[in-house]
């Protein structure tokens, strides 16, 4: 373990190229986080084509760092203007913006940026501590369980997509799995759903499909709906650096809360599908409950800024655990990231412990160093990063669409992928338009081939008896319980999770 820990750190800091890529990723992640309309999920999808062909470690470090620091700059508009960038930041707005109204924007920003970084680092620590605990569980899994895990992953994400969405989520996940069967069948060598089109014999390009389902519909929504901050008075955007560093000191002053909310965030991250929004709200509630003066919350309490920020960033470390070891993404952002990892040749599962433990440690170190760099960097450039929140979304749309088409074409160099992009974009837009969750599609698509391989192996080894293996029975029980609970809550009219948690 210690060897892998050292090797992981050396793979990161011993290579100038990897460190350089990490710095670029931190910069892009912070810029994208503060820019309206481009979420972390979209930025990962856009970056996938450009890491294609990169060294496995460098590509993974680049994408993970970009994803991890994304939320650190996302709270700027929540605190300064009361306009949350996404669901994760909504809880921060409750006390962040009243602080800004009282002339304490700098203090709120200093506290939230530092809390976010510290949360990210503690989240990575929790992940590291869990490795030896989960090692025997991961190694006990066989192909039978990996097939069932793929189904469980889709079920979890579908379950958490919101009220009455479970069947829609599973249907979308199965649609992804169905599209994964396009191409040459690994068992018989006969082409499926490919006809005489040779470019389809290798299967549909995952990059093209991810871009089509996430990037294009998001751009259409951004272009048609608007929603960017178009104007702001100079006075609103001002704060002093003295206040900013006073805010930084609030984090060690509330170390107990920081530690607790980071742990809660990391643990919530480990539950597939819950995501940052749930972590942020639960920890905000925890901060209110444990405060001696709860009446201050909602009127500018600094703990109300610290708690959701530590939690939403700590969950990144936690959600990496089910993603890497079980192939179940912890959130929709992780689902896209997992798709990228598979493209880079990183296969989630027991091999991450038996063969690639040093890579796992490199990713943990990347989370730690990425957050440290992001916080130090952001504290000095917040004033300029804040200006990005005024970028007009309509101006960004065509540039992102050019990037999307280049990405779809470049990863395989085939023009046919542009037609596929257009076709699947229509489906992705339909899913978004009629409020169907899209994250299960990515999981189904990226896990489809693994699930098929595992199913054939399991049937070859145990026949239909693989369903009766003890671990398989546990997973089947979990799938049935998840669906059963969703049906029960739906029938009772209770909302399981905030809408969109898993979308």
């Amino acid at each position: 373990m210690m060897d892998a820990m050292g090797a992981g750190l050396w793979a990161l800091i011993g290579s100038a190229q990897t460190m350089g890529l990490m710095l670029v990723a931190v910069f892009i992640g912070l810029v994208v986080g503060a820019t309206p309309g481009i979420g972390g999920r979209l930025s990962i999808a856009l970056a996938i084509p450009f890491v294609f062909g990169m060294d496995m470690t460098q590509g993974a470090v680049f994408l993970l760092t970009m994803h991890a620091v994304n939320g650190t700059s996302g709270q700027i508009s929540s605190i300064m203007f009361g306009v949350p960038g996404d669901g994760d930041d909504a809880a921060t707005t409750i006390d962040g913006y009243p602080m800004a109204k009282k002339g304490e924007a700098g203090r709120a920003l200093g506290a939230s940026i530092t809390a976010s970084g510290v949360g990210g680092i503690i989240g990575a620590g929790v992940f590291a501590v869990m490795i030896p605990v989960l090692e025997p569980v991961v190694l006990a899994f066989s192909p039978a369980e990996f097939f069932l895990l793929a189904i469980l992953g889709i079920t979890f994400i579908a379950f958490l997509a919101g009220k009455g969405q479970i069947f829609k989520g599973i249907i979308v996940g199965l649609f992804g799995m169905m599209l994964a069967t396009v191409g040459m069948d690994p068992q018989t060598g006969s082409p499926r759903y490919a006809g005489d089109y040779l470019f389809l014999w290798d299967g549909l390009s995952v990059v093209t499909c991810v871009l089509a389902v996430f990037a294009v519909p998001e751009m259409i929504a951004l272009a048609s709906r608007g929603g960017s901050i178009s104007a702001v008075s100079a006075q609103t955007a001002s704060f002093s650096y003295k206040q900013l560093f006073q805010g930084v000191l609030e984090v060690p002053r509330h170390w107990g809360l920081v530690l607790r909310t980071s742990m809660i965030g990391a643990l919530i991250g480990m539950i597939p599908g819950l995501g940052g929004s749930a972590a942020a709200w639960m920890c905000y509630g925890h901060a209110v409950q444990t405060s001696k003066t709860p009446e201050r919350f909602g009127h500018g309490a600094v703990e109300g800024v610290i708690a959701p920020e530590t939690a939403s960033n700590a969950k990144e470390g936690g959600s990496l655990l089910p993603t890497l070891f079980f192939g179940i993404p912890g959130s929709s952002g992780m689902a896209v990231l997992m798709g990228a990892f598979l493209i880079l040749g990183i296969q989630p599962g027991p091999a991450m412990i038996t063969k690639h433990l040093d890579l796992v440690w490199t990713l943990i170190w990347a989370l730690v160093l990425g957050n440290l760099i992001a916080v130090s960097f952001l504290l000095f450039i917040t004033r300029w990063v804040a200006l990005l929140t005024f970028v007009n979304g309509a101006v960004l749309v065509p540039f992102i669409l050019v990037l999307v088409t280049v990405g779809a074409y470049a990863n395989e160099g085939q023009w046919e992928n542009l037609i596929i992009l257009l076709g699947i974009s229509v489906i992705g837009w339909g899913l978004m338009r009629w409020d169907w969750p899209r994250a299960p599609f990515v999981i189904g698509l990226v896990l489809g081939k693994v699930a098929e391989e595992s199913l054939h192996k399991a049937l070859g080894l145990w026949g239909m008896g693989f369903f009766t293996r003890p671990l398989s029975l546990v997973l089947i029980a979990m799938i049935v319980a998840t669906i059963g609970y969703a049906i029960y809550t739906n029938a009772r009219g209770k909302n399981v999770m905030p809408a969109g948690a898993g979308s």
Binding site: V172, R192, G226, T236, Y284, V395, I419, W436, E452
Partner: protein, 185 residues
């Protein structure tokens, strides 16, 4: 006449039905996975159709602001009545949001741009289609002046296409017509 409340359910049903039907024509090993996935998916689509039809046509409209919903959520979580100050965005900050009807009309326009852009790439190639797409989109949709649109377009193409072609040595599609024309020249 039955009003289709959620066309995606019917679309998904149709896709799975066709894929399952086609799968029956494959050899036994090859059709196994499409059937394992497709059969339950078809059942779920039928179940979803039933749920769609049973769903109340219009639920009570929730007119509360996001902050009021957040107050309720945290109150439920903590067991005490919460009231938040952050009820409105900062004075002097204007958030541009289009109305639903305007947004729907704009969606069609954006789709037209995307389809024309992809067709342009296939016929003329990235190097001609991308600058034209950026120029026209920025001028007519982002309402930039011609000069500014041309400037942004040149910078964007320089960074994206130039950077990728020269930096990452990517070969981009040159377009069927452009390749043909260059062949004649």
């Amino acid at each position: 006449m039955i009003k289709v409340r959620d066309p995606m359910t019917y679309f998904m049903f149709a896709v799975f039905a066709v894929m399952v039907y086609v799968a029956f024509g494959y050899p036994e090993g090859a059709r196994f996975m499409p059937l394992v996935v497709g059969a339950p998916a078809l059942l779920l689509c039928v179940l979803q159709m039933v749920l769609d039809r049973r769903a109340a046509p219009t639920g009570p409209k929730d007119d509360r602001s996001d902050m009021e919903k957040a107050e309720e959520r945290v109150s439920l979580m903590t067991g005490r009545r919460m009231e938040f100050d952050a009820a409105q965005i900062a004075p002097g900050v204007h958030v541009m949001e289009n109305e639903a009807s305007v947004a729907a009309k704009r969606e069609f326009i954006i789709w037209a741009y995307i389809i024309a852009f992809v067709a342009g790439i296939l016929i003329l190639g990235f190097y001609i289609a991308a600058p034209l797409f950026l120029l026209f989109y920025l001028r007519f949709e982002a309402l930039c002046t011609w000069t500014r649109a041309a400037l942004y377009s040149a910078i964007g193409c320089g960074l994206i296409l130039g950077g990728l072609t020269l930096g990452l040595k990517l070969q981009l599609h040159t377009g069927f017509l452009t390749t043909l024309a260059l062949g004649y020249l």
